[in-house]
């Protein structure tokens, strides 16, 4: 059955609107990826004491989760050592401040610490790289390509979407499947992720903040917020270690081997 199409679009719409928007969006994504790479400041070198202060917490957590692979005597000695050291605060960077810890002091300002400042600037940079192109593109499309129908969606939508997808088109009864260039922009915004993955490899930063976990691996790894009282963290870690029950993994290894090889 051949029916006349209810709307015929000018092919030059395709050549001068559809393709340019697609191309510009892809290129902007690639540009954003490289700008993010350029803006990443290399991790600053910290002194030994600061690193020890942060990593000893990880040491405690590691003992808790992996303690089952060492024999009970080793576990006990590590446990005793870590708890004692945490409580005495010997891993702390600033021993002087620790000795005077009973004196009241103002809560630390996260901006005052150099590490905190760095993190803030990095986050700001990331946000800028994401927001600025988004706003520019959106106003570019709004300015040049608004007020006409660009394409037909292959799937129907409810009438609710009409005001969003057909903004600037003054037709009351037109099917919602005919959409303006703004919707093409949104489709690109959400759908180009896999194109970037193919072009730039899987760990790219072109798509914007869709995946927060992959974006700042450095921030996730530390799990350490600046400006926090690290001695309190030590105390709670010591308590956690105290509560850990140790179960040695090689406890009945002889039986298991015999069972496995049917001896």
């Amino acid at each position: 059955m051949v029916t006349a199409p209810d709307l015929v679009l000018d092919p030059s719409l395709r050549d001068w609107v559809l393709f340019p928007i697609l191309l510009v969006m892809i290129l902007v994504g690639i540009l954003r990826h490289y700008i993010t790479l350029l803006l990443q400041s290399p991790p600053k070198q910290q002194d030994v004491l600061a690193i020890r202060e942060q990593q000893s917490l990880a040491r405690g957590a590691s003992l808790r989760s992996n303690g089952k692979v060492i024999p009970p005597s080793s576990f006990q000695s590590r446990k005793a050592y870590l708890i004692q050291s945490f409580k005495d605060g010997i891993f702390l960077k600033d021993q002087e401040a620790f000795k005077n810890k009973d004196e009241p002091k103002a809560p630390a300002n996260p901006l005052a610490e150099p590490g905190g400042m760095d993190q803030m600037i990095n986050m700001l940079k990331g946000n800028m790289v994401m927001i600025v192109p988004q706003t520019l593109l959106m106003s570019w499309i709004n300015f040049f390509f608004s007020g006409f129908i660009l394409m037909k969606l292959p799937f129907p939508l409810t009438i609710r979407f009409k005001s969003i997808l057909q903004s600037g088109v003054a037709t009351r009864d037109l099917d919602v499947r005919w959409v303006s260039s703004m919707s093409w922009y949104f489709l690109n915004l959400f759908g180009l992720r896999s194109v970037y993955d193919i072009l730039l490899g899987s760990n790219n930063s072109a798509g914007g903040g869709m995946d927060m976990a992959g974006m700042n691996p450095g921030m996730m790894a530390g799990g350490f917020q600046p400006g926090q009282d690290i001695y309190k963290l030590y105390l709670s870690e010591a308590e956690n270690i105290e509560l850990t029950t140790h179960e040695y993994l090689l406890e009945d290894i002889e039986d298991r081997i015999l069972e496995k090889y049917q001896l």
């Binding site: 092919p11 037909k152 093409w184 193919i198």
Partner: protein, 109 residues
Amino acid sequence: MDEKERKQAIYPLSTESLQQNGKTVYYIRSVTSTIFGVSAGILGLESYYGFLFYFGGTAFVSLLMFLLLARGQPTEYFTSAKDIWTGNTLAGLSSFVLTWTLFYGLVDA
């Protein structure tokens, strides 16, 4: 320690390998969902048929991954067998819709 935890501890899965496997699945999903979008657009599928095409195709790709990549033993490579069947299917949907719309418009116009 219950039985399951014990098993995990005795036969541990490497986190890096798990991540790498997840990335592989993600990449396959990206590529295949784009290809499905192109083919759905060229075939001129509309509404439900397009989405059915996507989910059918994804299930087929999952089956191929299950048989060829994981050799029928997904728990050797993933924490749960679910990861290989449903992992990242919704992430691929948006790129499917994009290429579907694009090629539908190009063929139709």
